[in-house]
Symmetry: C3
Amino acid sequence: SQRPRQGLRCRLPASLGLFQGALLLFFALFVSYDEHTDAASQAVDTDPGANQLYGVFPFFQDVQVMLAVALGLLLAFMPRYGLGALAYNFLLLNFSTQWALALQGLLYHFHHGKVHLGLRNVLTAEFAAVTVLISVGAVLGRTSPFQLLLAAFCEIPVYLASEWAIITWLKVLDVGGTITIHVFSCYFGLGMSKALFRPGKQLGHPKENPTYQSDLLSLAGMLSLWVFWPSFVAALCQPGDAQHRAVLHTILALSASVLTTFLASGPLESRGKLSLGHLQNASLAGGVAIGALADMMITPAAALALGSLSSLACVLGFKFLAPFLARRLGLLDQCGIHNLHGLPGLIGAVAGVVAILVASEETYGHRFYQVFPARGPPGGNSSLAGSWPEVMPGRSASEQALFQAAGLAVAIGGSLLGGFLTGTLLRLPGLAQPPQELCFDDALYFKIPDPAETSEPDNPAEEAHLALKERV
Amino acid sequence: SQRPRQGLRCRLPASLGLFQGALLLFFALFVSYDEHTDAASQAVDTDPGANQLYGVFPFFQDVQVMLAVALGLLLAFMPRYGLGALAYNFLLLNFSTQWALALQGLLYHFHHGKVHLGLRNVLTAEFAAVTVLISVGAVLGRTSPFQLLLAAFCEIPVYLASEWAIITWLKVLDVGGTITIHVFSCYFGLGMSKALFRPGKQLGHPKENPTYQSDLLSLAGMLSLWVFWPSFVAALCQPGDAQHRAVLHTILALSASVLTTFLASGPLESRGKLSLGHLQNASLAGGVAIGALADMMITPAAALALGSLSSLACVLGFKFLAPFLARRLGLLDQCGIHNLHGLPGLIGAVAGVVAILVASEETYGHRFYQVFPARGPPGGNSSLAGSWPEVMPGRSASEQALFQAAGLAVAIGGSLLGGFLTGTLLRLPGLAQPPQELCFDDALYFKIPDPAETSEPDNPAEEAHLALKERV
Amino acid sequence: SQRPRQGLRCRLPASLGLFQGALLLFFALFVSYDEHTDAASQAVDTDPGANQLYGVFPFFQDVQVMLAVALGLLLAFMPRYGLGALAYNFLLLNFSTQWALALQGLLYHFHHGKVHLGLRNVLTAEFAAVTVLISVGAVLGRTSPFQLLLAAFCEIPVYLASEWAIITWLKVLDVGGTITIHVFSCYFGLGMSKALFRPGKQLGHPKENPTYQSDLLSLAGMLSLWVFWPSFVAALCQPGDAQHRAVLHTILALSASVLTTFLASGPLESRGKLSLGHLQNASLAGGVAIGALADMMITPAAALALGSLSSLACVLGFKFLAPFLARRLGLLDQCGIHNLHGLPGLIGAVAGVVAILVASEETYGHRFYQVFPARGPPGGNSSLAGSWPEVMPGRSASEQALFQAAGLAVAIGGSLLGGFLTGTLLRLPGLAQPPQELCFDDALYFKIPDPAETSEPDNPAEEAHLALKERV
């Protein structure tokens, strides 16, 4: 097992250094401030309180907690891979955010030879990074950090292309990223896993099994994700009643998910006991599904129902579908991303179509063309439309529904293809993929204290041992 | 020990399913949006930034962290019941919030055949849920999840009745819920515990004793509660200077509680050592007490003094009163809620009376009738009163003080009675109450990894054992 | 080892009681409300939404999380000193904040015989407290709580004097506290450590070594600090574009620090493995350095470069400088504060000078005299200056740069001297300094569960033992 260490020793630092250097150069040459951060472009009478910072920062901070802390803890359920789960998640978050910041800048914010930067760009770049953090969940623990970085490097551009096609080109409605983020990242991860691992070869691993302590940490991580999830869904909403609805619907969906998880998990498990894997995942399923329609007038009841349904699908996925896929397709899904992001994502996408088909101007009033900008006249009541500027030649409800379906197809197709190619790339030699017996083991990449020297206060044997040591 | 599992297997999921289904039906038939979340009721020129969301959400998020994450960790001091502490707290939070959402909706927001819903309703529903989370602290670990759910089902309506009587009917001032939430939930829990457990039968339990690791988690939970407590107290305050005072006073009270806890704990313990139980509870006592007068002009010094006094009472309660009650009344208070919520709550209620008796129009100026709406003319200076609309035939200071005392009596009486009846109900057979030897043990209700298979990196014996395993 | 306990038993409570009593008296006699918290000073038509609370509270809460929770967890890397790390950090935070609240009140907010108090005062007092929390990092684990309190009592006034000289007198620009907080507290801590410990006497200690679990907690603490760091830097900025830049620059610097830490740590360690000490510290270095220039128009690229550079310095400091200082000067730096706060602080101070030298009115426009108030006419374009009131006889860029250098000298000189004297004071007998064999051990000051009675679910031996117990 020299290979992995060699790989890490030279290639990881070298490539990280290369990336950071290139990004620095790009920033030095092309990145400047936007109108909210540029001092010179402020008028004397600009109201400081109206700066975009104050609308973005609270949501941004919540999302930061989710991605940097909570998600890492959730992934730390593997008892000897907890440091890796926290550290690699953190590394990938920063790598992917910087990478997306550069590419999104060129794609959307490049004017007069400069990319114009503000906090909102960082927020959207983090949403791109989320896809990486989700996707790697399929292969976590059986891959080297170097492989994970390479996967991030490949996934970000594919995501940006897919997101551009879905949102900008097809004008799909997906305010919380159900289709663009969750569905995409899930199938990207599965494609990657499929290409990377030979069926049958990957058996259960002794170090995979959570311990009581690691399950506790992971549960705490889920709870933190659960708390801040409404900010994730609502962060990019139109301010006002739309954002208020997005927050309210997400809370209701998440709350229904929790009750449904508790009622569904026990009966499926031997002797009616609750499964921690179910709790750690299905409690969040409602938040995944609601994203596609969070800002629409779907009624609070629909939000509850959607949360219930998606967490039920998640639990059933863990119990029946995942083992089936593993058996039949030899598909390895380490963290069960298909159960948490795939199935609820699909349910949310379908629910979005229904919500669009039943939407009417009576329900939305003046806001109709704000929530459905692509449904402008002649598709709609022009008197109302007048009150909303960015209205284009209108789509009918069924047309918009078809575009939603097309968007979903793009997300699934693009991610599967991109993921499979990425996974194939990750099989190249020299990427330091750990051998089976060294998977899920932080000792491979971290300087870990030698257990013989440690002193856990709750280990009587060591207590005695040390007591002696000290007397000497 | 088949009984508990059977109970959990059938009854818990069945009743949860029944509840979720009924609630869904209720929402589908009767729940709609309020003026802040309904798209149709927005005028073209409505300022999105003025939506109620932005005044409520920051406080709501802080309270969510406290209830879903921090409180769960604080309760996780029982080393083999940590998963249960986190998971049941989470389940009860969601169950109680949904239950309160429905009942409060009917009570306060039912117009034209519809309950009108916004984020603020969810916030007030969570305040109702807090009472459940506190009360169950008295019986945690010796009860089944099914019993806990039944307790929540009973407590919410009792709380709403008591709160309605105290706030709406008696017009008691209690902005931070000292009387309505803390005193009420404490005595509800004690009444429940008294009825549920036969005196003397419940002895100390080996699994109750915290370990170093569980104490550490619990301490981290307390710290998180401490940080966000000001948001809990100030969330429902009048915006502006009143809310500013509530935040300031809470911080000062909490800070004094910390110093007083550190100075009081050592001398009371053998060999001057600090008790973690004291730290984990008394550091928060000031936040409990300040709620009844947080928005009043009590001077910063009074906030400090109140924090000091209440944490001292909490420490003394742990040291002397709790053991006394256990001995004399056979009263079981697993998490010491009487020390943290009962005693400081009573102190805060009395302090509130004093603050009301000394309040004068000179100190409050135009704000007098905002802070004391029931003190309107002819009780007060009508010229000032004019500036504050919702003013009713006035009360004198001493009248208001009497109403405060009446409110406290309602909270204590109602909670003791309601709690006792609930506890009696929980003794019914078939509620899966765990036998003594299976208390405080997550293995009873959770699929816990078999220790023989786990691999804790800091257990040398297992290290060696696994190393061998891998070679094979 | 009776001495320490005796000391703690009497002196710590006594001195804490004395302090709290004196502070209470001071508050009762001299502390009142400011215009944002005083009800009487509110006009009838005051807009509640304009209260200062709403500009300060979000940043305040983030800083509270950092100081009370995240920093404590970061310091909990010593496996048998985790409770102490959390608890003493919490005690010192509250003690120092109250102490600074009183002194800063007298220094800046004393009008008409009263200190006027609002949430902003508490925020600035917490910034003072930070210096204590950082400084004690140099001596943590080898000192008694009583010594730590005495250190805090001495450091706060020294800090306030130094900060007054640097900011008020020399008008140094340091919006994020790089010079006034980080550099100052680092050298105060080192001076204290130098005076307190005799060279050579302090060897490595068995209980210092982190375990897997303690490293995990510490890593989670670092991640939480990392997330909220932008609020720490931007909290006291001018609202608007300046605050927006401060947040953006801090995020970029922190992000670059993370990548640089990952690329720098491995190659320096044996067999290319990552050092957790590096991750736990160097990932934050960019946040330390950026404070001196966070609100200036330094370009996003410069923020990235600064973050990279400072984390590189931090890693090299851990690897080479710290051991060298320990060997040559017998300097003990328990938590490596010189690597995280000293070196990045110096780099940030120098970068600030450069940013000032290259700043021009073209880049800043109307904001020039807001960011550089001391550079008013005749130093600058008077037409622009007119738009910014608080402009005084102007300084040239190089003059301002010299003042920055002077400020840095004051910070280093004052802290080294003050720290050394404090350290000398801490060597007085009767301060309960723990003997070498009892360092880093919570058992000395906390009532810790007797391991023989604890029941860790992941200890098979105990499992069996308890199983038997229950059958009996």
